[in-house]
Symmetry: C3
């Protein structure tokens, strides 16, 4: 209805992608970087409008992830990544393009939670080894003009 004219996913795929994001985000939020890394392909890239260059490959992605997990732990806060408003489109090459909103709730110990980040996340997902994995991620932070 909006966006490029690609095939709508079947219901099984739509639900599978929703569950994929749930597992993906719950993994990083509990600090389980290894499980989270396994939701990316080996050659995955993450681009981001706050960085000049994308992070390329699981090793680089792992380094960034461990730093963010350590920073949150050091500040004594829990992060909860939520995705929503998910649009899933099957592309001619068999990959899936998933466009969603994502925000991060930051929950300090002994204080009310706050919104920490608001972003739009566009992923290209591939199905390999019987699971979905992210090959390409493009994050746009809403607070960066």
């Amino acid at each position: 209805m909006t966006g490029p004219a690609v095939a709508a996913p079947d219901a099984v795929t739509y639900d599978a992608i929703q569950q994929f994001y749930a597992g993906h985000m719950q993994a990083i939020d509990r600090g389980d970087v290894d499980t989270w890394l396994d939701t990316f392909t080996a050659d995955a890239t993450i681009a981001n409008n706050t960085r000049p260059e994308p992070a390329r490959g699981r090793d680089t992605i792992a380094r960034v992830a461990r730093r963010l997990v350590d920073e949150a732990a050091g500040r004594g806060v829990v992060h909860r990544h939520w995705t929503g408003m998910l649009q899933v489109a099957r592309q001619p090459d068999g990959t899936v393009r998933a466009t969603s909103y994502a925000f991060v709730v930051e929950a300090p110990a002994s204080a009310a939670p706050v919104l920490w980040r608001s972003t739009v996340c566009v992923d290209v997902l591939v199905h390999e080894d019987g699971r979905w994995r992210i090959r390409q991620r493009n994050v746009t932070h809403d607070d960066v003009a």
Copy 2:
């Protein structure tokens, strides 16, 4: 389980309505009023507990939408509309009644995002021209007694 005794939707419909809202909200949030308007029927109405009278018809709805988009741009903020807690019910006349929560995240440039609005949204959706469209919307703002 709650609400009127109407038929539960099949999984295809439930997912289609979820994707409908994703496209609908992403359109207005990127300021694409034309795409957003096409998610309403020509005779659509939007009622709201902050206004005495509903907005009637695409022309009126368009005027209100363009004003809201311009106001957000003028204030230098991005709005992200999220819907969730979606209940979908097929009605005897073939329309769908969709009840959901909706909030709006306001993301200023260079500052943390905040919650801007919290509402309950009840839509009557019809299927026409091969897509879902909103015929009737009823929004209840939580901050209005």
Copy 3:
């Protein structure tokens, strides 16, 4: 992909559980405690990392729920419970284990809404009398170390 090696749900179940939570949360948020109670089994338990002992059985759960509804009304606020990032797993005994994030938006009269609580919610759901019900709930508040 993450979590225990249990069967993924079919799409019908995943959507049914999403709708279940929508009805469950909308019931408590509009203060309809009776409808909300009917989404628990008679012997349900709710455990919570802010309390030493779980609440056991519908009567105890009802007492706690009515107190919370009355407190919100007394303070003149509306609460909106959102769940998301839902993972659903069929267990060998036929029950469903549903792990989700949940936050509560607090909407005061005449002021912007705020995040009030952020939690992780693990439920065991059973299908009885033609509907899903919660047999066991385990809530972890993010602000409790």
